[in-house]
Amino acid sequence: MSYATMLTIALPEIVLSLGALALMLAAAWGGQAAARPVCWAALVVLIGAGIALAGPSSSGVEAFYGLYRADAFSAYSKVLIYAAAGIAILMAPRFFERTGGDNLRPEYPVLILLAAVGMGMMVSAGDLLSLYVGLELQNLAHYVLASFMRRDTRSAEAGLKYFVLSSLASGILLYGISLIYGFSGTTGFDGIADAFATANSTGLTFGLVFVLVGLAFKIAAVPFHMWTPDVYEGAPTPVTAYFASAPKVAAMALIVRVAVEAMGPVTIEWRQIVIFASLASIFFGSVAAINQKSIKRLLAYSSINNIGFALVGLAAGTPEGVSSVLVYMTVYIVMTLGSFMVVIRMRDEEGRQIETIASLSGMSKTRPGLALAFMAFMFSLAGIPPLFGFYPKLAVFNAAVAAGLFPLAVLAVVGSVIGAYYYIRIVKTMYFDDPAPAFAVSGSTVENGLIAATAIAISPVAYLAIPALTGWSMAAAQALF
């Protein structure tokens, strides 16, 4: 295979990197005034990368000697990642206008583009080397994004905390990678699967555990979730919304690919780890969220809870299971981005951000439209039919039952009932409590449109999209087996 062919296969990453480099130059010369144009240009670059996915980048071939996989699975995940990254860029300008001194700088969209390159490398990884480089590329951009509001000490704290804990997790991951390399003699997923199948040993199992621990940290599965609430609370809200969506999809896709492609022959071994992380996330995410006062912390625990449900699908270890994980992540990022867009609208008369749950009281009277949308997101996150959040939960439970994991499915259903409590409590606060001071009327048509679009996407109308959604996700999942 010639290099020209390889480059066309990796076209989405190339479009994103070249776009990011060009916009970096524009940012360096344009300065502060270039911030908004760079945001719009970054959106165009993301759309361009999305279009590039339609070519050989989703045809199921390998490039760069097995380092890069361009199959339906990576293409599906990349569509989600680029969409979430684009929304994170769209949310930013209005938010930074009102932070009091911390302006939107043009580096914000550039860093998101570079992180998208990293996430693309992660979901296309066919080798532990490209996995690690992609992971570090997105991580490094995320540390900077988390502490983007330099005047806000909480933002700086979030960045530092994220950096220290994430580096630790990277260290654990690297340790696992070195063990796997040492005992299998290769870093390629195919070779590792071969080693697991023919010459499994204690050393390989150790490596498997460490790699899964390192990756579990990146998706914030319990017991490796400690950083999530603090980082989500401290980071600027558009960045939090982004953290809860795109990187979650990327890390989830990565963990699925590593588990299925590299560790497929020892499904029995990793299944117990995934089941434990899944149940622990579901229960901890539900119980710990109950006492939260800040809406951002609550949504952080909600994301931990939701990752637990997605892991139920992975525990099945079948094509149906993987497809249900993809469906779950798709619906999850829509619900989460919608919720965070409502959170961005919570501002007092002076334009300061409010984050307490109490301030939502009686929002149904002061801002009925916003309250209706938020209610839809909350019910959907709780998985209550007829909203669309019900369907992915059904899909993961179905996959688990089909794989014979009845106890897991039953316990997960119990956990979802506990989780429903705190989601519904927010609806109760909005609809039945005495009104708190109304939020300032703010927001642009872009934000209104996005809230409306995400709310419609999780409404019962979305059930019409199920055949298409399952068709695509199934095709993507089949690419791994």
């Binding site: 490039a63 580096e107 480089v133 490094l140 005992f183 003699g185 070779g191 023919t198 050393g203």
Partner: protein
């Protein structure tokens, strides 16, 4: 024979220098001991036939990293007595970590012992016989691993952007030099002739 002697010489000096690095009272001495340890580690690498890594150790670690340490140690006003205060308190944790690391080394030792030809044959990049290892690394780095090499380049770029974004700020009240304005300045803008009457001062 001479190889064995060289190995033991280098190995002993590395370990001794490493021990001195953590036990020296003066942090500047610590850094100097560290440099000695790096040099001898490079010697060990040469003995193993990894001359590229040996040169890298000398150039990167001795030449850049250690000197940077030295600068940091000498320029930052760190109270090292305060650092040492926690020594006894954290000793149990440190010892536990040390035991863990020793167990890991033993574990690795067994692993190497048990490595058979199967695993060696599966290696994606077996050690070449005829080419020097600088050429071998170059061949792999710019062909087979080009993708991750470029990825690593982007990681460094992000690190640079991040450092600038987080630390650069517009400082008020500084007086930067403006060469164009200096050149455009004419004498009559800067000089004023006055003829003060006798007995009265000059008003500036």
């Amino acid at each position: 024979m001479i190889q064995a002697i060289a190995f033991y010489l280098f190995a002993i000096v590395v370990i001794a220098a490493a021990a001195m690095t953590i036990s020296a009272r003066n942090p500047v001495h610590s850094v100097l001991w560290l440099i000695l340890a790096f040099f001898n580690a490079a010697g060990l690498m040469v003995l193993m036939g990894a001359e590229f890594i040996a040169m890298l150790l000398v150039i990167v670690y001795v030449g850049a990293v250690a000197v940077l340490f030295l600068f940091v140690v000498m320029m930052l006003d760190i109270d090292f007595a305060e650092f040492r205060a926690g020594f006894v308190r954290y000793l149990p944790v440190g010892l536990a970590l040390a035991v863990l690391l020793v167990v890991e080394i033993i574990f690795y030792g067994f692993a190497v012992w048990q490595t058979d030809s199967l695993q060696l044959a599966r290696r994606v990049a077996p050690t070449p016989e005829s080419v020097p290892n600088i050429q071998a690394i170059g061949d792999l780095l710019y062909t087979r691993y080009l993708f991750v090499f470029e990825g690593a380049g982007l990681v460094l770029l992000v690190a640079m952007i991040g450092a600038i974004v987080l630390t650069q700020r517009q400082r008020g009240g500084t007086r930067p030099q403006n060469i164009a304005r200096q050149n455009a300045r004419r004498p009559w803008e800067a000089i004023r002739k006055v003829q003060p009457p006798v007995g009265q001062g000059v008003e500036l």
